[in-house]
Amino acid sequence: MLKARVIPCLDVKDGRVVKGINFVGLRDAGDPVEQAKIYDAAGADELCFLDITASTDGRDILYDVVQRTAEACFMPLTVGGGVRRVEDVGRLLRAGADKVSVMTAAVKNPSLIADMAEKYGSQCIVVAVDAKQIAPGKWQVFTHGGRTATGIDAAEYAKQAASLGAGEILLTSMDRDGTRDGFDLALTRQIADQVRIPVVASGGAGTLDHLVAGVKEGHASAVLAASIFHFGDYSIAEAKRHMALSGIPVREI
């Protein structure tokens, strides 16, 4: 049976992890390579590396940092941030990414998803959807860290992305991101139930019960979290044990 995935996320700014695990004895908590090694040894199912300022700064992602991080990973690595052109996908794959996440550029020009999938295969194209609730049961796609409204319905966009060849949806609730109040389950479920590709729930995980709810109530195939792991509140093993006890099939460590 396929297992629900637990995916820690490294938010990287100027080549440094901004929300890093602060272990005693860790030489450099801001070094993505050190963080990747820890998560690999801890049995994370995948790792997500997001260059959070690449898009707003209008610059390319830091390829050398991606490359060194990939070196430390014996698990799948998704990389996102500032991906604008079809060639950017190729460069990131060559730098060691297994999947590439595209957001702003695909919202502006959805056919980019089809071009990327055709060239590199659907399996490596993750479409990131940042959504904010605008009315009961209605969410809209936002870009630039939730600051720019697009007028595009989130569920419609996710369906379009899937039909254009996306292999996965990385769905972040901009209302919940950073709050630690839990995923937006209604949003997650609305999209997970409408697309045939896996949906990764993101934004708001603050407790282990939130991870459980993301899968059970949100119908997500994977849960992504940053703070709860980075601040050392919970380990990957604890998260998986809790999910297993709640009846969710996970790969136990």
Binding site: M1, L2, K3, A4, R5, D40, G43, D45, A70, E71, C73, F74, M75, P76, L93, R94, A95, G96, A97, D98, Y120, G121, S122, Q123, C124, G167, E168, R196, I197, P198, H219, S221, A222, R251
Partner: protein, 218 residues
């Protein structure tokens, strides 16, 4: 004796993680092997072991391989005539089949009897691609296979694929995984081995499997 392991580079994705896993697995086993990522047919022809990775579509991978002068012949000579142990990974495994039906009708190597067809989930809610960690279940032949002795019940590996190899000869199916119905996970025959999952992305389990492949003397 130090062996040369050729990982064939034919433009199907980044081979760095495959290379790094093979290098680390060789070190784990105390083997002084030379690991070469190559698109040179002569190097492949002379290799002691051959690894064929593959990411993307069946037809595109087949074309990528055909585009390198002499590569298909070199692969056949090394693997079929010289019986060098061979490992196909993901689409590299699917290419071992008779035919592939991803975006058209493509001919495979014909080394494993069967076709590569779209996964059709029978249960509602099953997503395509089959993406993530799933349990490897050995068949009777798989349990007897020396290259798979490192696998323990409950071991998981990382899969990502929308097509799967449906074997015709059940004795060539060495392991499967459950995704609504059994999906072929490992095939093998003689000196040939194929993994549908990605050992290079499967942490300790993947490295153990690669180590066993490097030690395998079919």
């Amino acid at each position: 004796m130090a062996e040369t392991i050729a990982i064939i580079d034919y433009g199907a994705g980044n081979l760095h993680s495959a290379e790094k896993t093979v290098v680390r697995a060789a070190a784990d086993a105390g083997l002084d092997h030379r690991v070469i990522v190559t698109s040179d047919a002569k190097t492949v022809r002379r290799a002691d072991r051959v690894v064929l990775p593959g990411v993307g579509a069946f037809g595109a991978c087949r074309q990528g391989l055909a585009a390198i002068p002499g590569m298909q012949e070199a692969l056949k000579e090394a693997v079929i005539e010289n019986a060098a142990p061979f490992l196909g990974i993901c689409v590299g495994m699917q290419l071992m089949a008779d035919r592939g039906f991803e975006h058209g009708d493509h001919e495979g190597f014909g080394w494993i009897a069967g076709d590569v067809t779209a996964i059709k989930p029978q249960a509602a809610g099953l997503k395509i691609p089959h993406m993530g960690w799933n349990e490897i279940v050995l068949t009777d032949n798989g349990r007897r296979h020396p290259a798979l002795k490192g696998l323990a019940p409950g071991d998981h590996a990382y899969f990502v694929h929308s097509y799967h190899l449906v074997t015709q000869n059940m004795s060539q199916k060495l392991a499967y995984t459950e995704y609504g119905h059994p999906i072929t996970a490992i095939v093998g025959w003689d000196n040939l081995l194929g993994f549908q999952f990605h050992p290079e992305k499967s942490q300790a389990v993947g490295r153990r499997l690669i180590t066993a492949f490097l030690q395998w003397k079919p």
